[in-house]
């Protein structure tokens, strides 16, 4: 009898623990990042989780009237699965807006412009001046990122080799130790990492129309809209610009998406865009 009742109690506990948060508005905002993606989300020497994305999540949570933001660390290769599974409300790690992605998740409007950077191991400094010089080199990349797509698209043209990693930190470690010749990722993250590591130097910049948006679960346009109103709010009163300056040292460009508020919800021209006029959350 004692054993059965213990089992029942454990069963009840298991079920209770599994019940996801009920009332949304008094729950902390759950945001996914891949921890270690400097300077967006990383652990500093004191063991604290800091970064652009952390500050962004905190600002949005405050604007939405939530008791703070809960930063959930997930490896980049699993971050979309985590969003789908409802483990987080949205992804605050910098996520490039792409049509194929937009079909599977609801993006907010863009909040930052970006480019890509190929950083190299120091032994290649000066020898790689154009993309053709990449021939024969091994380039590491975050699996499933837009840099991954770029590498795949241009493989035939430049003849490098692709090495896929679960997150940027592993790829950087590989370049640092000389296992691979270079790494390609978003401009800010790669430049910041290269700055800190003597053996990694910036190489080739790839400009384009890259922009970051905040992905939310695709059926959850209501939440996405609420998030976007908060995002526009922090754009209009300078909070977002201040965060940008803190982490990148410069103010965002006048016409960059950080300073622009877009009409409607979502990204114009992509799935889940809603042409609904609304006012930002003050």
């Amino acid at each position: 009898m004692k054993r059965i009742s213990t089992f029942v109690v454990m069963g009840i506990c298991a079920v209770l623990l599994a019940i996801p948060g009920v009332a949304q508005s008094d729950q902390p905002l759950r945001a996914a990042v891949d921890m270690g993606y400097v300077p967006f989300a990383f652990v500093n020497e004191a063991g604290e989780e800091v970064g652009y994305a952390v500050d962004l999540a905190d600002a949005l949570a405050e604007r939405m009237g939530r008791p703070g933001a809960e930063i959930v660390s997930v490896a980049w290769s699993g971050i979309f699965a985590a969003l789908d599974a409802g483990r987080v409300d949205f992804i605050v790690a910098p996520t490039n807006i792409r049509p194929s992605r937009a079909e599977n998740m609801a993006f907010t409007e863009p909040y930052m412009d970006t480019a890509q950077l190929i950083a190299l191991n120091i032994e290649h400094e000066g020898t790689v001046k154009t993309f053709d010089d990449l021939a024969g080199l091994t380039i590491g990349v975050n699996a499933g990122s837009v840099s991954d797509d770029w590498l795949v698209d241009n493989l035939a043209m430049y003849g490098y080799e692709i090495d896929r990693y679960d997150n940027l930190l592993d790829a950087l470690l590989a370049v640092d130790t000389g296992r691979i010749d270079g790494v390609i990722s978003d401009y800010e993250a790669t430049a910041y990492a290269a700055k800190d590591r003597p053996k990694v130097v910036p190489g080739l910049t790839i400009t384009g129309d890259e922009q970051y948006g905040l992905p939310c679960k695709k059926d959850n346009t209501e939440f996405r809209n609420e998030l976007e109103r908060a995002l526009e709010g922090i754009k209009l009163d300078g909070t977002l610009q201040a965060i940008h300056e803190t982490w990148f040292g410069v103010a965002p460009g006048d016409y960059s998406s950080t300073n622009l508020v877009y009409i409607g919800y979502g990204v114009p021209g992509m799935s889940f865009f809603q042409l609904i006029y609304h006012t930002p959350t003050p």
Binding site: S77, R101, G144, L173, T177
Partner: protein, 231 residues
């Protein structure tokens, strides 16, 4: 319970079929690593077991007995450390000492070392379970020590060793998917790449099915061997 979403995100047949070739390639890599690790690891384990038993004999010089110390250290370490930790250290830490091993061979070496350690203990127990009289009788017939080992003792030791050996071999083969963490393009890594590219978790389920199909017969076989050996 969101059934429609569940099927779409995890049992999406179109995506599973699309990635089947890639998963197949990964499966081949998994089997390659497993086969190499098992073959080399068992050999290493057997050799170490024979060495350890041999140096324990009465007539061995002091200096050979000291060999036991590093051997025990190696065996105990490989049995205590989680294989994932060993993998990560070998792949990420060794380069700082100037030692660069490819991912594939880093994985194989780690598994060989682990199986070698466990195998040596299993074989040693098997060898020690063979009656000492066998050795005496064989030696009195004129066989050398090594010949006795090879033709008389070890074959009998195998019978005792086989059950724990098969279960340890299966355990190591399952651990091969840990190599995906250091980026080896095995079955699990291909599944992760598939997930990242399609924003859909179906490749993982396809991989899980393939893994189960691969290992279920082995588990049954191992249970069969264990039962037969008991008789």
């Amino acid at each position: 319970m969101d059934i429609r979403g569940l099927i779409d995100s995890f049992f999406n047949v179109r995506i599973m079929l699309e990635y089947l070739p890639a998963l197949g390639r990964g499966l081949v890599v998994t089997v390659e690593i497993a086969a190499l690790s098992l073959a080399l690891g068992l050999t290493l384990g057997l050799i170490l077991a024979v060495v350890r038993v041999s140096i324990k004999r009465k007539g061995t010089a002091r200096v050979f007995r000291l060999l036991n110390v590093p051997l025990v250290f190696y065996i105990d370490s490989m049995r205590a450390l989680p294989p994932l930790v060993t993998l990560v250290v070998v792949y990420f830490a060794l380069p700082y000492l100037g030692v660069y091993i490819s991912r594939f061979w880093s994985a194989v070496s780690v598994f060989v070392l682990v199986l070698g350690a466990f195998g040596s203990e299993i074989f040693r127990a098997g060898i020690e379970s063979v009656d000492a009289g066998q050795m005496e009788a064989a030696r009195s017939q004129g066989l050398s020590y090594l010949q006795t080992m090879r033709f008389v003792v070890v074959p009998q030791a195998f019978r005792v060793a086989l059950p724990p050996l098969t279960s340890r071999m299966i355990s190591i083969t399952k651990d091969v998917s840990l190599a995906s963490v250091i980026g080896v393009a095995d079955l699990l890594k291909e599944a992760k790449v598939g997930i990242a590219n399609t924003y859909n978790t179906s490749p993982l389920i396809a991989a899980a099915i393939l893994f189960t199909l691969l290992f279920l017969p082995l588990v049954r076989l191992s249970a069969f061997v264990e039962r037969r050996m008991k008789e």
